[in-house]
């Protein structure tokens, strides 16, 4: 029987009332009294020396309040990178300065050169056209292999070369892996590309700087997934503004998918400009600017080798990847291809020996950072593709081959050879659930029916595992993270019993305001509507690390549970006093405190009132008031896992792929709101299938972005996708957080690309096609069929 409220109920998303009626308050909806607008003049060449930036004519243009150039930021810090990777030889990565505004050189199309602040955006733009910029163009480094070649043009003159780091994991296993591959019965080798993506949240980035000279207070309104992190990075590392003089507000945010985690130049620009020019300053990204200034995702070139014995048992795995960093190191860029990628190379399998080499490369392209899944999709894609190819080469059914190599249910906790320990899981369970949902036995008949219509039908599966609930602070600290990754929550019980929860997690589409209220109301036995979730403002929330890596419920939710437990403990003490009973005899259930074995009881509301109107109160034992905070640092990552199946039809005449059906069986641990979880899976699948079928970021050899608008960058649309079958009933609760939850935000984007590609390759196998790089556009599929044929 489905519940109608609390944990496990599909409560309607309360935030949708404002979102769906146009009442959401996004950063661009905000306008501060006296606000000026800024326009950012960006480089239109990918690489060049910035010889001069003459702003004298522009400064006299109508409405102009002031102009900033790279010179104005020479004395402040660069945009920081939050994770130091140590290379195979024990040396720290090469870490160039990332100037807020380009100085000396421009390094990618879109690199900021000057900022004009004027009364109106049109005036700022007019003035920007009057800025005289002199650039001596240099040859651009775009291709990663070329960037690593001897004598390649350097993106950063002060670095040795374009190699950020050469990372090996697990380095001590390298020789053993080489040995095992050499002696194996069969080795399957696959070279592939994980295509570069632009996140394209519906809401472009916006930043408003508002400086109050009378108090020396700075306020930054920004489209961020983690306002406290922005306050820390910009305040402490870039501009030197102490926390108590810097408030960062991230109000309603229209999607992020990772791209709004990072501290961006524009945030520092509006903060500086507001103080310097004495007015609030607003910047709103156009969609064109988003294409050349939002951190992009993926962009790996990989060779993977899987060694097996004669029964298809995995013996060893070796993978070599070049990972594109773009021109500068974005906030979390360096950990994505390493610790969020190499540690997942075991997948759902018992492969005993694994070695993962990653070379991170600077190029004259937009910086690359985490995008929905971040490293885990790249790991899953190569693994699930090479397994499918191995199955074909070995003549073993692809599902059977996976089953033979799955970690068994009784092997948990499972220590992988790539550092992480899976606490719990049941990969056979999700695969069995998947096969219940899809009619695999009927595939042959459907394939025959397609063939009769001149179409090629294919079926593909993929398993996935991801590490979510980021992350245990001591572990990530040892791996190079420059911050802890706990979360905080404050639960404030108001005098009449309603609750305000201040969480460091940030909701930008995930539905926290609903889900988190379900958890707290369930714990306290009160109405969901009596609980309000407050987030996104450093002035209201004690601290927070924000939302990414499917961490909000597992980490932020756990902090909230801990704080609520403290509330219950204190409230029990108050109740015991009110009922003149011993604390140990007091039970709390369904919003009532009662004394065991008696008819004495006191309601939640009475206890709350007593806390704030302490006329009859144990003042000698506890303080008045009812508000508790907690920080939660997870003991381990969580490991959502699952199995996905895709069925496609390919038109051999045109190469067009149609997705006929897609099914997902996920293990997210316990589920708080099934409807919201399904929505998250649907969104993830749309983005994953978008990557597999449509999306691609293309630069030409000069570093010009050819896919700079939706005219050439193909976003998935509703009619590109089938109706999804999703299931999350085969679950194993997480063993180390209080809710037993794992996280569901990224799974869809991780598991779906290999499932789709495997299905298309299955359809084309008879034509001799063994691999096609994403996106599987009609022209690529057609070319592959013709080259193979």
């Amino acid at each position: 029987m489905p519940k109608d409220s609390g944990i496990g109920a599909s409560s309607k998303r309360r935030e949708d009332v404002r979102f769906l009626t146009g009442k959401g308050k996004y950063t661009d909806d905000m306008n501060v009294e006296g606000q000026a607008h800024c326009y950012i003049l960006r480089s239109d060449v990918a690489h060049g020396t910035l010889d001069s930036v003459d702003t004298s004519a522009a400064a006299d243009m109508p409405g102009v309040r002031g102009i900033l150039t790279g010179e104005d930021f020479v004395e402040v810090g660069g945009l920081p990178c939050g994770w130091q990777v140590t290379d195979r030889f024990g040396e720290p990565m090469q870490e160039p300065k990332h100037p807020v505004i380009a100085h000396g050189k421009v390094r990618h199309v879109g690199d900021p050169i000057a900022v004009v602040v004027a009364d109106t955006l049109a005036e700022a733009r007019d003035a920007a056209e009057a800025i005289d910029v002199s650039i001596t163009e240099l040859s651009a480094v775009v291709d990663m292999a070329a960037a690593l070649a001897d004598g390649a043009t350097k993106v950063h003159d002060d670095l040795t070369n374009n190699l950020c780091y050469d990372w090996g994991f697990v380095e001590e296993n390298k020789d053993a892996v080489d040995e095992a591959i050499k002696g194996a019965h069969h080795v399957t080798t696959l070279e592939l590309v994980n295509n570069r993506l632009v996140a394209n949240p519906m809401e472009p980035r916006v930043a408003i700087g508002d400086y109050d000279a009378s108090t020396n207070d700075h306020t930054l309104y920004t489209t961020s997934q983690n306002p406290h992190v922005i306050r820390l990075l910009m305040g402490a590392f870039v501009l030197g503004i102490p926390e108590h003089k810097l408030r960062v507000v991230a109000p309603d945010v229209g999607g992020g998918f990772g791209s709004k985690i990072y501290h961006y130049a524009e945030e520092a620009i509006v903060t500086v400009a507001s103080k310097q020019f004495g007015c609030p300053v607003k910047w709103t990204s156009s969609r064109s600017e988003a294409f050349m200034s939002d951190a992009q995702g993926r962009d790996h070139v990989t060779k993977i080798e899987l060694a097996m014995d004669e029964n298809g048992k995995f013996l060893a795995l070796r993978t070599d990847t070049m990972a594109n960093m773009g021109a500068y190191l974005s906030t979390f860029s360096t950990c994505v291809p390493t610790w969020l990628h190499g540690t997942l190379m075991a997948g759902n399998y018992t492969t005993p020996l694994i070695y993962c080499n990653v070379k991170a490369v600077f190029t004259n392209t937009v910086p690359v950072d985490a995008y929905r899944g971040a490293g885990r999709p790249e790991a899953t894609f190569q693994l699930e593709r090479v397994i499918d190819m191995a199955a074909r080469e070995m003549g073993i059914d692809p599902i059977e081959l996976r089953m033979r190599n799955f970690v068994q249910p009784d092997q948990f906790p499972y220590q992988t050879p790539v550092a992480v320990v899976y606490d719990t899981g049941n990969y056979q369970g999700t695969m069995a659930k998947l096969l219940e949902v899809v009619d695999r036995d009927g595939f042959a008949a459907r394939k025959a029916a397609s063939a009769a219509n001149g179409k090629l039908r294919g079926f593909g599966v993929a398993s996935y595992i991801e590490a979510c609930g980021i992350a245990p602070s001591s572990l990530v600290g040892a791996l190079g993270a420059r911050a802890g990754l706990y979360e905080s929550a404050t639960v404030r019980v108001n005098a009449t019993g309603s609750i305000s929860v201040m969480t460091g997690s940030h909701s930008h589409g995930q539905g926290h305001e609903t889900t988190f209220a379900q958890v707290v109301s369930d714990m306290l036995g009160i109405e969901e509507n009596a609980v309000e979730i407050v987030h996104g403002d450093t002035a209201k929330i004690p601290f927070g690390m924000g939302t990414y890596g499917s961490r909000s419920l597992a980490v932020g939710g756990s902090a909230m549970v801990k704080a609520t437990e403290k509330i219950i403990k204190k409230a029990t003490k108050i109740a015991a006093h009110l009922m003149e009973a011993a604390e140990v005899d007091v039970e709390f259930k369904d919003g009532q405190f009662s004394v065991a074995g008696t008819d004495k009881s006191v309601a939640w509301g009475e206890v709350c009132l007593a806390a704030y109107v302490p006329h009859n109160y144990p003042l000698e034992e506890i303080e008045p008031g009812l508000e508790e905070s907690a920080f939660y640092d997870p003991a381990n990552f969580t490991y959502p896992a699952g199995a996905y199946a895709c069925e496609v039809e390919v038109d051999p005449d045109t190469g067009k792929v149609e997705i006929c059906s897609f099914a997902a069986a996920d293990d997210f641990g316990n589920v708080i709101n099934p409807m919201i979880v399904e929505g998250q899976v649907h969104g993830g699948l749309a983005q994953g299938l978008g990557q597999a079928l449509l999306e691609n970021t293309v630069y030409d050899e000069n570093g010009q972005l050819l896919t700079g608008s939706f005219m050439d960058y193909a976003m998935p649309r509703a009619d590109d996708l089938p109706s999804f079958e999703v299931d999350h009933s085969s679950l194993t609760p997480c063993t180390h957080n209080p809710l037993g939850v794992k996280g569901c935000g990224e799974a869809g984007a991780i598991g779906s690309p290999p499932a789709l590609v495997n299905a298309v390759i299955d359809a084309l196998a008879d034509k001799g096609v063994v691999h096609i790089d994403m996106p599987l556009s009609p022209s690529r599929v057609w070319a592959a069929m013709n080259q193979a044929g």
Partner: protein
């Protein structure tokens, strides 16, 4: 967008007079021009809106066959109004862009712009339509000169388009995945005096007639008749969405499908 003056004449004569100014530009549905201006890639000093000119609006179906479509008629209106009289043209109009585009964009605007991947030039050329302007009547065969180039003179305004109605016709559009313009589009139209085949999206010179296919279909109007034919990849567009070879191949596939669907 730069500042500009907007005038809204109510007659073709007034519009033509307004277009006499230097840097004046005609505005119809604005589906290409407005985005271009927003990006500051075009800076007309004056826009002459054709939307309020009554004589350029609407669809008239002649009792003896043939359709006259006012140049300022939107795609959505065409899709609705010619559904019975020229279903292939209605389907073509209904497949342009999205509902917002179809409710603003006009046939005259599309023809005057002559985007090499647009649908209307293909439908117009395959139909052997006549483009009427404030100065003359231009046969479709003479109208499309090249990439974004037409026979229109400076300040000349398309007022209407006359479509003869074929006995059978079909338009096959293969979408470019991002823009959903035609990666390749082929229109086949069968008339008493012969078959016309027009191709959009494929050529670096814009829309063209595939005369070899027309000749084959005049002899035998069946998909088999064109099965062995192919256009040369020389001069075809090659970009990230498809090579010239791929486009050449699609021309053949789509022509067969269009014939089969007639």
């Amino acid at each position: 967008m730069y500042d500009f003056e907007l005038v809204k004449p109510s007659s073709v004569a007034d519009a033509a007079a307004a277009l006499g100014d230097e840097d004046a530009q005609a505005l119809s549905g604005g589906q290409t021009l407005i985005p271009t201006m927003k990006q500051r890639l075009a800076m007309p000093s004056k826009l002459v809106s054709l939307a309020g000119i009554e004589e350029m609006q609407g669809v008239a179906v002649s009792a003896v066959g043939g359709i006259r479509i006012g140049a300022a008629t939107t795609h959505a209106t065409v899709a609705k109004e010619v559904a019975g009289s020229y279903p292939a043209l209605a389907a073509l109009a209904d497949g342009i862009g999205d509902p917002a585009v179809r409710n603003r964009g006009t046939i005259g605007g599309s023809l005057a712009n002559n985007d090499p991947s647009a649908c209307y030039p293909c439908g117009t050329l395959a139909s052997g339509a006549t483009i009427n302007t404030n100065k003359r009547a231009i046969a479709a065969d003479d109208f499309f000169v090249g990439l974004f180039e037409t026979a229109l003179e400076e300040g000349e305004i398309i007022t209407s388009v006359d479509f003869p109605t074929p006995s059978a016709a079909n338009y096959q559009k293969f979408d470019q995945p991002a823009s959903r313009f035609a990666l390749v589009g082929v229109m086949v139209a069968k008339f008493d005096d012969g078959v016309r085949v027009a191709v959009t999206g494929a050529s670096e010179s814009g829309v063209f007639r595939w005369s070899e296919a027309e000749a084959a279909l005049n002899g035998n109007f069946s998909a088999d008749a064109v099965a062995g034919l192919s256009v040369s990849a020389d001069g075809l567009i090659s970009d990230m969405h498809g090579s010239a070879d791929y486009r050449a191949h699609l021309v053949g596939v789509l022509t067969m499908r269009a014939v089969a669907a007639c």
